[in-house]
């Protein structure tokens, strides 16, 4: 915006301002003494200038900052509630005659992970199994334990980068809760295949049915 700089106009406004001020000053004095509460409020305001937060006093910025803080807090808190967490990250399943596809999905408004920030694994495995292999990359990790006859396989993936196709022919499929996790299970040829999502990560556990649900549950609950 161009400002008028002509001296006559500036002079006119200066005189107008002076006239206005004279009119204001000629007004009758306030017929009361400012209250102690008012003085205290003003002193608080003056002192508050030393803090950076004072710019948020009584402003739209404060309202915006408050709303953002509330939303951020709710989002952070919601991740600790399994019901909400599962709605944030979930599997989309597509069922075909021969197989079922699981595709990990996440919320659009949350930044997607590009690498695993928290590597997790079962802390309890039946004692007759020994760790045979562990591979780890930025987006995936896998543990394999073996005993004489069987093996247990555990995988951790980034949920939104995960998709798997499970052969569903001649399998018994069910959904069940173990702890807070909604787990998709397949039982076939003496093996359990388990798939679930916890927060931004998708997990897979393959283990022999001979272990029994009690031990499978114990393995899943020990993941940390």
């Amino acid at each position: 915006m161009r400002t008028i700089t002509h001296p006559d106009i500036k002079e006119a406004f200066t005189r107008l301002a002076a006239d206005k001020l004279a009119a204001f000053e000629a007004l009758p004095e306030a017929d009361f003494c400012p209250s102690a509460a008012f003085e205290e409020k003003i002193q608080r305001l003056i002192r508050a200038q030393a803090r950076w937060t004072w710019r948020f006093v009584k402003t739209t910025r404060r309202k915006v900052a408050t709303v953002i803080a509330i939303i951020a807090t709710l989002l952070a808190l919601s991740l600790s509630i399994s019901g909400v967490r599962e709605t944030l990250y979930f599997f989309v399943t597509e069922t075909f005659s021969t197989h079922i596809d699981f595709i990990g999905m996440g919320p659009c408004n949350v930044k997607k992970l590009t690498e695993i920030e928290e590597y997790r694994s079962p802390k309890w495995i039946p004692t007759d199994y020994t760790l045979k292999n562990h591979t780890e990359s930025r987006i995936y990790q896998c543990y394999t334990w073996e005993n004489d006859n069987n093996k247990i396989l555990f995988e951790q993936h980034i949920a939104t980068a995960y998709s798997v196709s499970v052969n569903a022919e001649n399998t018994s499929f069910q959904k069940l809760y173990i702890g807070n996790y909604l787990i998709y299970t397949f039982e076939k040829n003496g093996l359990y295949d388990l798939y679930w999502i916890d927060g931004p990560y998708a997990y897979t556990l393959l283990c022999p049915t001979a272990l029994g649900w009690e031990n499978v549950t114990r393995i899943i609950e020990s993941i940390s």
């Binding site: 003003i42 200038q49 030393a50 006093v57 009584k58």
Partner: protein, 182 residues
Amino acid sequence: MLPIYLQTVMAQMQEDEQLALAEIYRQHLPLMLKIAQQYLSVQEDIEDAAHNAVLAIARNIKKVKELQSSQVAVYVALAAKSAAIDLYRKRHRQAPLPLPAELADNVNIPVEAATANSYDRVLAYIKTMPPQYIDPLILHITMDLQARDIALTLGRPVGTVKTQLRRGQKLLQKQFREMQKK
């Protein structure tokens, strides 16, 4: 973390701003109160208006240069007047605002009554302009405040102030050109 010398400078700036605000408050509180009293009758409301005016001034304190100047007094007075009018409107949402005659901006001074001096004629014309343009123009032209600062001071939306400044200046320029032709 800021370097220590910058922290010192910033602390000094904040201290200066605090001192400036305290000084403005000390010098001009009576003026703010008497202006607010023209619009509001309850003491608490008058004090609230003065508080809002101090808050508006605090937000623009960097723009206030010479504390003793009459410009600052005008600035404080306009801030107090706007804060008082805002509060009055809040208290009487539906009621029209009766402006005391001595505070009215649209005092009709006929242009032809002005003297031969160019600035007198300009002044006479300004007084015929729509009143809502006048306070923003005073702050813009005499104190070089920008629309954002004026909006903070007068408690008006920035867009409104920009429009008022643009239209006000357009009217002035048009009138000024015509005066020069004559």
